[in-house]
Structure formats: structure tokens, C-alpha cells
Symmetry: C2
Subunit: 368 residues, 2 copies
């Protein structure tokens, strides 16, 4: 196993906090808006429960929560396992794919969310990277060329972190066909699903209707509760039991106060809550991109998710340059090279701050 | 991996709930007493936090919670990783031991808490069982004879589930010496530590002062919150970083509402809370054992923990007999053969019900 690496974003958030001047923090993907009201009231209601309600929930999650998830996605409830965030769901899917046979290849995009390749390595897999298209999506033909009988899993993330690309339904179906042809598992991380800015661009991988597709998701971003750790996986029926066993032997069960609050929020939160936050982010992205445009920077306007990538002439996306930007411009982002080779010239900025416009003005002034 | 087995205790709790007559449920180890008041008030206080407090906690747990754990055990805080219950801590320790080298043997007692051997198998290990002594503890000489260079880990649990045995300090030090001599990891599950009835009988494995000892624990039983999933491991400094990496790649972080409530409860709960519950269980055990004595049954009076084992002449501890006891005597326990060969003649009864005396009278009437 790799040595423990203190996640880079912790380092940069600390670096920003300790900087001499004022810094706009655009490092992490932590939502800065209010959770649904029912998260707060749900926790309080739970706190007044009888002692029975404080004991083990079912290992695969509260029954009503699983039913609500199954209902929303139109799948059989037996396929749903509630997990400790989308992270555990991704772990369970990858572990299940890698133990299915001798194949150890795990295909993923470059740039990549760093947990994917580290997790693959921990599980004895071999990450293989497929360069993303300029628009931040994946070309199924490139995935097909990279796939082989040695491929155990293909991990995709749409809306994408860090590129902001959203894979259309055809792309997902074509990649699912590659998984089918190579007896591999397509693991589709859809955690930014509620944040799509091009209407109709997003389609879930469940639409591929293949028994080699796993969809993972969570309430972390959609309900602004990354610290609650409530996510889920939707697994093919043939894998659901093996996944349950692994989940039980690793975690026994998930945390019940958080599951209870999320269940209340699922039942009581109107669509307008999600729509309001989507619009808030869309406006921040507009503002931020307009300022980048004015500054003459290259940038990607995300189709979905929380992140804008920007490239400044002669200023590659290294850790050193990211720290310099904190000190000299008062804006904290993430170095593009933390996500792989293909975006090493870029910096990533998370629009989870009301000060996105101010940050863009600082960048314009610094590079202008 | 084994096929998923719906845990036996869920099956038996359901069987008991669906029985025609009234049944006293002594199946699971779910506490039936009140959690500390600060668990309820802590959850409510947390529910009123700003949105920042709803985002990711540090991966290895809230800093103040880790500090409180380190302080209580007198260890360096860097050795403490807060986990999703003691179950995840045991998983992390076992996985770390098994990936250290080619050795794949995992020694454990028979009878055994079933998660241990299933988890060992999932991780590619080979469980090897050492029969417990009649008093429910382990003889270090028997562990020494069973250990070899093929031993990766030795898993012990004291106070013990299911036997009620409490391993003394000398026993733990001697077993730690066996681990040292075989380059293996001693993994000591001390989750029933607050429930010891023979004063001075318990000593933590940390006393062995070896860099091959891991102690795992949780607040599940001591605070009557098995559903919160807040536990921890205390790891040797040389292993702490690898354990953090695995924890991060599996779970990202633990659930923050539960950690926050436990931290409040740690700070605000007087010793008298733990002492009161210990006495409550001790009284139930007395009553239950007295009735078993009157019924002429063999039984073990636990030195610690929640469980009394009983043996009735000509009535072995099979699932069939356990179900018959529910139907005909109105008492639900666990079959001894679920814990291994050495207690196949016995039944296990958890004293986590105020109706322990009534249950014992029913058993006396049924077998009398």
C-alpha cells in the first residue's frame, strides 16, 4: 500500500488558513449552503427516540431509506445497499469486481478523482488511465481500445470531478457495452447528479440496463452534508449478496442518526430546494467564468458539478504554483497535476463559496 | 467469500417476534437501558450547528474525540483512529496484519464471535481455532502451541462474547509475547470493558507494551448506542499510517453527528452512569443464574459482558432446539453451535432485558 498521504486538499486548506492575507477558499468540494430543514429537525426528532432506535439498523440500511432510494431510481429494493457515503459504495463495487477473477485492470479517466486509483491499488488492482476529451467527458472508442480481458472494472464519474464534463446517455450505454464485452463491471459515480447545468445532458448508467453496471451515489453533495456519510450503491442482482457480506464484515452497519435524518429529508424536501442550489452554483460559475474570460485565461465552463478548471499562461498547475497563488493572489484552488497528467497545466477551483466573483477578480488582477 | 448469511440473530429475533405466545428476547447484545443524557442533548446541539459542522470531519475522527480517547488510555494521540464501530477497527487491524507478509493464519478462540472468522476468510486469511478453557478464557500455552511462523494475527476478546470469561493481565501479556515471538499482531477486542463483575479481573492489552498489539473498542455497548457506529483502534505507531490510508480509502471518514454526540457524552457523563449499568447487568445475571441453578442446569456465571451460557441435559444448542425453546418455553437465546464446536451443547442468553428473571423461571418450568 502507498504510504499514507495526508490529502492534498487538507494541506491546502490549512495553508490558506495560515496565510498572512485574506484568502478565498476554493479548495474542497464542501457545500457552503444550508442542508434541508428536515436534516436538522430529523436529527432532533431522532434524539428523542426510545433506546431501541439507538441500536443497530439493518446492515444494508434502514428499510424505508432503501425503499425510497429504490423508488426514486425505479429499481428493485434488493439491489440497494446503503453505505458509509459514496466512497464505501465505490470501494464495495471495486472490491467485488477485482475478486471476481484474475483480471486486475481498473480503467478510469485522466484527469481522475484521486481516490479511485489509490483505492484500486489498495485492492490489488492496476489503474489504467484513459485521457479525457477536451470537453471533460470520455470517448467510448478510447475506452474500448484500452479495455481487454484483463479489465476488471471501468470507473466513470459524471458530472465529473474535476473536469465538469457530463457524459450523455449514449456515452454511458456505449461504455456499458465495453464492460459487457470484456466481462468487466462499469462503476458509475453519480454523486453530482443534482448539479447539471445543461438540461437533459445527464443520464444515469442504470439506463444501460446491463447486469454489469453499478451506480453509486450519496446525499453528501445534494443535501450539503458531506460529514454525515450516507450514500448507496445500486448493484446487479447477481452481486448484491456478495456486496452485502463485504459491507457487513467491514462496517457491520451504517450510522443510524445520519440515516434517520436523511430519510426525513428525502420525504420532506421539495424539488425547489435542489433547484435553488443548482441555480446558485450556476450563477457563481457564470460570474467566475466571465471574470476568467476578462482576464484572458483559458477555462472550462462545467456542464455539471462544483468545479471550474482554469489555465493561466506560463503558470502550470503545480503544488508550488497553487501555494504561490494563495500567498500572492489570495485565492486557494487545487493543482491540476493532482488529478493526473492531462490537466497538469490547469488549476481547479470549487465554486462552493459566495466569494467566487471576488476570487475571479483577484485572479484577473494578478494575471492581468 | 462465503455466501451472504443473514445473521442468525436477525433470524431468531424475527422468529421470536412472530411466535404465537409471548417471548422474552435474549438473542442480541443490544443494550436496553438509557444512553447518557448528553447523547440526546449532543445530537440536538449538533443539529443547530452551522453548515461547516455538517461537512467532512477529519478522516481519522474529530480531533477532540481522538484526544479524549488517547487521554483515557494514556497513549499518543497519533495512535488513535476513530472507526465505524469496533467492527471496522477489527477489520483494519486484521487487513493490516494479513498484508504484512505471506503468513495467513488468524488464531482465535473457540467459541468465537462469528464476525472474526468470516472477516478473516474475506481477507484471504485462514482462521485457526484454539479451544477456550472451561472458565471461558484462553490458556496462553495453548495459543503458543497453535502459533507458528504462519500466524499473521491472534484475535482475542475480553470480556468475552459468548463465554463471559475475562482474561487477566498476565494472560494478555503472555499472549502478546506469543505474538511477538511469531511476528504476528495481537488484536484485542475490549468492547465489553465497562462490564466487568470481578473487580480487578480486567486488564487492557495495552499493558503488554508491545509494538505488536492493537486494541479495539467502541462506545456501542458502554453508551447503549450500537447503531451510532463510533469505535476506535489504538495501533502501534509503525502501523498507524497504513491503517489511516486503508480507513480513508474504504470509508473516507466516519459519521460526524454520531461522533459529535459521543464526544459530548464523553465529556459530560459521570462514572456513576457506567457503574449503574454495570450493577444492573450484574443483578440480572445473579437472578438468571440463581434460577438456572434451581432448574438444575449447567451454566457459566460471566466474569464480564452481557451473556450467560446454559446447558440443559439432552438439549444441545442447535438452531432447531433454539426455535423449539421459543415456541414451547417463550424464551429466545442463541444456539451455542453458532459460536463453534466447543459450546455446541450450550445456549447463550443475553441479559439485555428487564425480564431476565421471568425468562429463567420459564426455563426452570420447561426443563424442571
Amino acid at each position: 500500500m502507498d504510504d499514507y498521504e495526508r490529502p492534498l486538499f487538507f494541506h491546502l486548506m490549512e495553508y490558506a488558513a495560515e496565510a498572512d492575507g485574506d484568502v478565498v477558499d476554493m479548495v474542497s468540494g464542501n457545500p457552503d449552503w444550508e442542508p434541508p430543514e428536515a436534516i436538522r429537525t430529523g436529527l432532533k426528532r431522532y434524539a428523542d427516540s426510545g433506546v431501541d432506535a439507538f441500536q443497530y439498523p439493518p446492515s444494508d440500511g434502514l428499510s424505508d431509506l432503501r425503499a425510497a432510494v429504490a423508488d426514486r431510481h425505479g429499481v428493485d429494493v434488493d439491489r440497494v445497499v446503503v453505505t458509509n457515503g459514496a466512497g464505501e459504495a465505490n470501494y464495495l463495487a471495486m472490491a467485488t469486481a477485482l475478486e471476481a477473477g484474475p483480471a486486475d485492470g481498473v480503467l478510469m479517466a485522466d484527469p481522475v478523482y484521486p481516490y479511485y486509483h489509490k483505492r484500486a491499488r489498495m485492492l490489488g488492482g492496476t489503474p489504467r488511465f484513459v485521457p479525457s476529451e477536451p470537453d471533460g467527458t470520455l470517448d467510448p472508442a478510447a475506452v474500448r481500445r484500452a479495455a481487454s480481458e484483463d479489465t476488471a472494472a471501468i470507473v466513470v464519474n459524471s458530472p465529473n470531478n474535476p473536469t465538469g464534463g457530463v457524459y450523455g446517455g449514449e456515452t454511458k450505454r456505449d461504455i456499458a457495452a465495453v464492460a459487457d464485452a470484456n466481462d468487466a463491471l462499469l462503476i458509475s459515480d453519480e454523486v453530482y447528479e443534482r448539479f447539471v447545468y445543461d438540461e437533459g445532458a445527464f443520464e444515469t448508467a442504470l439506463a444501460a440496463d446491463s447486469d454489469r453496471v453499478v451506480v453509486t451515489n450519496a446525499f453528501s453533495k445534494s443535501m450539503a452534508i458531506t460529514g454525515f456519510r450516507v450514500g448507496y450503491g445500486i448493484f446487479p442482482p447477481r452481486l448484491a449478496e456478495a456486496v452485502r457480506t463485504r459491507h457487513m464484515l467491514v462496517n457491520v452497519a451504517g450510522s443510524r442518526p445520519a440515516q434517520r435524518a436523511v430519510l426525513d429529508a428525502l420525504e420532506q424536501t421539495p424539488e425547489s430546494y435542489y433547484e435553488r442550489n443548482r441555480k446558485l452554483l450556476e450563477e457563481r460559475i457564470e460570474t467566475f467564468c466571465a471574470a476568467l474570460e476578462a482576464a484572458g485565461a483559458a477555462y472550462t465552463r462545467p456542464q455539471g458539478g462544483f468545479y471550474v478548471m482554469a489555465r493561466f499562461e506560463g503558470y502550470p498547475g503545480t503544488l508550488e504554483n497553487t501555494e504561490r497563488l494563495i500567498d500572492e493572489a489570495g485565492v486557494a484552488g487545487m493543482p491540476g497535476d493532482a488529478f493526473g497528467e492531462s490537466r497538469a497545466e490547469w488549476l481547479r477551483f470549487a465554486v462552493v463559496t459566495p466569494r467566487a466573483e471576488e476570487a475571479a477578480e483577484r485572479l484577473a488582477a494578478y494575471f492581468g
